[in-house]
Amino acid sequence: MLNRTLTPQLKEIDQIDFVSPVTHVINGNALLYHMAEVPNETSRLDLYFDAGTARGERAVAGFVNGMLLSGSEQVSATEIQSQIDALGGFYESGISQETAVISIYALKEHLLEVFRIFAQALEELSFTEKEIKELLNDRRQKYKVNLEKVSFLAQREFQRRLFHDSIYGRVSDETDFAKVERENLIAFFNEHYLHGLYKVVVVGAVPENEINELIALSAQWAKGSPNKYETTLENKKESHYLEKDGALQTAIRLGRILFNKTHEDYLDFLVLNTILGDYFGSRLMSNIREDKGYTYGIGSMVAELHETGYFLIATEVGKDVKDAALEEIKKELKLLQEELVDEEELALVKNYMLGQLLKSADGPYSMTDLFLSVEPHGLDLDFYNKSIDALHEITPERIQELAKRYLNWEDFTIVAAG
């Protein structure tokens, strides 16, 4: 008779094989990374431009990012899109404070051709009045819709206070959209795209001669000097509540400036972060969702910037339990400072994190992303071997020490909206 109360024997994950992409030099400030070991027809191309929101006047960087395929008087946006679609290409653009990334997804046989269309579109881009007007209109409407979302309101207010006094804390609103001038867009585009490329990534079994052509084509945009980033950021230690009429839920964001992978406490702090709020069984989820039922979800994370990073707890809770939820979060932080994590919980989190690392290294796309997560910090994939060692060595005392150092309520920026 099968005894169902007994857990099957577990096997430990002892080793993970990490594989780096091959590095090609575009110029002294721009590199191309190629992960060729893809066992199917798919491929991805990422282009990194030094064109983040912190690089220009309010709203300008975001507008330019949204207009890269908007064409010229001669070739319309629709014609460019049709050419890309006819090759089955998917185009994606994203922007953060520090960078702008364009991603192209296509079958490998079409990747170079889609890139050529993109390259030509960039060369001919002229920022027509019609396209500017249309984007302005779309952004304005989207912005108004966002203002109705408590998560957006809280996130924006949090960003403003977390990065206060720095360019990263600058958020644009509707009045900034109206101030956007064509000349500013052109100037930003020239400086930050046509002379702003600093990294290219190819995932896919693309032949060597095509990689060479990609390098030749993108070299014209390569940056002439290294990127510069904010190094010292400090959050405003305060609590702020933004009331929204008619809201059923309150969005909560709290956190502080912390550090990134280059800091000696980073790896151990990740364990603390996981225990607190980064998996389904975390302290925050167990208490605030699974015990109290205050929320559909709550989580914590460490977000990284080029030179630093920040810690964040985010949730949406019933409006009537806002204060109770904040109180419980505070309690959980305190508990980690005052009591040692027991061995069983720690063992679970270690195993969970090892399993997640194994998953993050599964397949060429994931492996490339792992690499891209260490590369900006001057690290290589050996970082993950170190992280496995760190997981094996961490102690409850060390976790408590980090909680005492980094999770003090009075060091936090706390925002609630709704």
């Binding site: 994950i13 006819a86 090759l87 079958l107 819709v145 109705e148 069984g281 039922g293 205050y294 559909y296």
Partner: protein, 415 residues
């Protein structure tokens, strides 16, 4: 081409095995053939609430998640109007932990009053977060009863109203489990670097002694053929007018399903699609427009939705939209347009099939449709589609009397 093995246990459980030697991870995917369409009209939202309860501990194991996390894995689930799907992703060497956990919750749940009480609250917060406290969030709560009058697709997975969730009792929960969560109503797919014999041995070990039960009969009220144009306007405090055109389309097993899928791509998948180009880029009537299908197993909906630019009326939009639909009905599309749509479908499929979890889920779904082998046949159906087929389908679909329109009127608009 996706190759797999299939076997059935004496208790009726269907098992699919997908071998993938390239990954150190494994997937255990369990599809239960029950969704919101199987609920009774006075107790909606139940299939989804039940999905939450499946994580509240089973008969022999007090906590579902912790042992899986201890094994380096994680788990989640989703409920649709048609199915409830649970999946575990974990290191392959610990596969047995997932089978132990999944088989025990198929055997029986713990049914604690605390779990019911908490998950009721969690689901109510989910209801608020996703449907009530979002601009345009309640669209599907409004649109479903407009498009469906009889079929249970007339309510959303989350439920018709919060009250139904508040009123769920332990008796309801037990009844739902014993009726729907039986091996004969489930399809299990295991994916990873294993041997078939090993999988057979493990599945028999953990699932073999679960009582078979009877696969519940499904007798749904068929949706009568729509014979009249339907329209509803609701006012909301939102920044822009929004529109949702819903056209009835064929069920999943019908070839017409694929035609409708391609037609929706032609109308509004990409920035080179007909509606995007005409209504947004050329006429500047909308800020945003999309076309897509709901993908349901029974008769579904082809949707066209978007938001109006300031100062544009619903009437102007309506004229321009029907004008484009009439063009699709007037003559077959050019071969080059069809090719453009097809390569996009092919590319998207290649990316999708890369993921082990995606493949495991798709296999279960195709098995539910009749044969998991369908996963390898679908592209042939797409390849066989000709402009004339789409033309015929367009004539049949894009008729006023086959359409339901929901308009959301922005009340704080200056008009």
């Amino acid at each position: 081409m996706i190759t797999f093995d299939r076997f059935t246990l004496p208790n009726g459980l269907t098992v699919l095995f997908l071998k993938d030697i390239t990954t150190p991870m494994a997937v255990v995917n369990t599809l239960y053939d029950v969704g919101a369409r199987d609920e009774s009209e006075d107790k909606t939202g139940f299939a989804h609430l039940f999905e939450h309860l499946m994580f509240g501990g089973s008969v022999n194991i007090s906590d579902f998640d912790a042992p899986l996390q201890m094994a380096g894995g994680e788990s989640n689930a989703f409920t649709s109007n048609d199915i409830t799907n649970y999946y575990d992703v974990l290191p392959a060497k610990n596969i047995e932990t997932a089978l132990w956990l999944e088989s025990d919750r198929m055997l029986s749940l713990a049914f604690t009053p605390k779990s019911l009480e908490v998950q009721r609250n969690v689901v109510i917060e989910e209801f608020k977060q996703r449907y009530l406290n979002q601009p345009y969030g309640d669209v599907w709560l409004q649109l479903r009863p407009l498009a469906y009058h009889k079929h249970p697709y007339k309510w959303a997975t989350i439920g018709k109203e919060v009250r139904h969730i508040e009123e769920a009792t332990m008796e309801d929960v037990r009844g739902f489990f014993s009726k729907h969560y039986v091996p004969s109503n489930a399809i299990l797919c295991i994916a990873g670097n294993f041997e078939l014999d090993e999988i057979k041995r493990l599945v028999e070990k953990w699932y073999g002694d679960i009582p078979g039960g009877k696969k519940p009969a499904r007798i749904l009220t068929a949706e009568p053929v729509q014979e009249e144009y339907r329209e509803k306007t609701i006012e909301r405090k939102v920044p822009a007018h929004a529109f949702y055109y819903a056209f009835k389309m064929p069920e999943r097993r019908n070839e017409g399903y694929y035609m409708a899928d391609v037609l929706s791509d032609a109308l509004g998948r990409d920035k080179s699609s007909r509606l995007y180009v005409s209504l947004k880029k050329e006429q500047q009537l909308v800020s945003d427009i999309n076309a897509y299908i709901t993908g349901s197993l029974d008769d579904g909906l082809l949707m066209i939705s978007g938001k109006l630019n300031d100062g544009i009326s619903f009437e102007e939009l309506d004229r321009a939209l029907w004008n484009e639909l009439e063009k699709l009905k007037a003559h077959p599309m050019h071969e080059s347009e069809l090719q453009r749509l097809m390569i996009k479908i092919k590319t998207a499929r290649e990316f999708q099939e890369q993921g082990l979890l995606n493949r495991a889920m798709s296999l279960c779904l195709f098995e539910l449709l009749g044969d998991a082998e369908g996963i390898n046949l679908e592209h042939k159906i797409y390849d066989s589609i000709q402009p004339e087929h789409l033309h015929e389908t367009a004539i049949h679909l894009f008729r006023k009397e086959n359409c339901s329109l929901l308009k959301i009127k922005a009340t704080n608009d200056a008009e």
